[in-house]
């Protein structure tokens, strides 16, 4: 952990509001992105993301700095996402609903995921939205453990070491599960695009 991060943690443990603001601003997107891809539902993701930062505020004293703060934070996000998936599965009428597709831009006008493809034509926009929907459906078809690995590695682009620290899995297990998950997504896409 860097000196700057250690100082920030010290301020957060003293419940400095400005330190908390900085944490949410710095990690908000990463936490939200992970949760949204795990759940596939924006409303639920917003709710869980809030719970994650509330948990951080409440339990930051238990963070001993052995791992990076981001690792600790994403472990909380991953666990709370899995808990929400289980909770929603027990309520079949409310759960399992995926968003149609992510908006091309966020409510504040910043570019959304579709804009990453630098789209300038409506048909391409639709095509990208459809691809994103298919991807999300393919991710949702995986069990939560495989889903988490694909999101951490291929969406959030984390290293195997960081993934190991978040999930507690050895590298060999991560690699074999990740390969199965990637192949399953590819097959699902092949099936839907042919």
């Amino acid at each position: 952990m860097s000196l700057a991060e250690r100082l920030l943690m010290g301020r957060l443990k003293e419940r400095d509001p400005l330190a908390f603001d900085e944490i949410v601003r710095r990690y908000g997107d990463k936490v939200f992105s992970l949760i949204y891809r795990m759940l596939g539902n924006r409303h639920e993701a917003e709710d869980v993301a809030q719970e994650v930062f509330i948990t951080v505020f409440k339990t930051v004293d238990s963070f001993r700095g052995e791992a990076k703060f981001s690792t600790w934070l994403l472990r909380i996000a991953a666990n709370q996402s899995k808990n929400r998936i289980k909770y929603l599965a027990r309520r079949p009428t409310d759960g399992g609903e995926l968003d149609d597709a992510a908006p091309a831009s966020a409510p504040d006008g910043t570019p959304g995921p579709i804009a990453h493809a630098q789209i300038d034509a409506p048909d391409k926009l639709l095509e990208a939205a459809e691809m994103e929907r298919l991807m999300q459906t393919a991710i949702a078809a995986l069990d939560e453990e495989h889903r988490l690995l694909v999101i951490l590695r291929d969406v959030e682009e984390m290293s195997y070491q960081e993934i190991g620290e978040i999930t507690g899995l050895p590298e060999g297990t991560i690699k074999s599960r990740l390969h199965r998950a990637r192949m399953a997504i590819k097959e699902e896409l092949d099936k839907n695009t042919k």
Binding site: G28, R37, P113, D154, V155, K175, H179, K186
Partner: protein, 120 residues
């Protein structure tokens, strides 16, 4: 090396985590196997699409979280502050008051000496 064997190594091949010998074996297989080359292209396309799924948090996340903490802590944390005085530290207000009183005292002392001495 057969198709299944080659395709089982696609993840490590793409991630660049294969041992040199294995990597060369796969490259040799790909050079002669159009089926595996096609599969590898589709595999890489899938990974590319996954990489474009990042999301941004809603702009209201910070204010929503703070509001929740305020509610759950019964107002202990993140209470709304006065717009003007909430941002000025009390130390500065105290210092300003002391300076103002000092100036006033000096002005009274030197400005109207007649008032210090009583009327005859």
């Amino acid at each position: 090396m057969d198709h299944a064997e080659a395709q089982n190594e696609f993840s490590d091949f793409v991630d660049g985590t294969l041992p040199e010998i294995k990597r060369v074996e796969i490259e040799q297989h790909l050079a002669v196997c159009i089926q595996c080359r096609t599969e590898l292209v589709a595999f890489k396309r899938t990974l590319g699409s996954l990489g474009r799924l990042k999301q941004t948090a809603p702009p209201s996340l910070l204010s929503d979280v703070k509001q929740q903490i305020y509610k759950r802590s019964h107002g202990r944390f993140f209470a709304p502050r006065w717009k003007l005085f909430g941002r000025i530290p009390f130390e500065w207000i105290s210092l300003g008051t002391i300076i103002a009183m000092l100036v006033y005292y000096l002005a009274v002392l030197h400005g109207s000496p007649g008032s210090v001495h009583g009327a005859p």
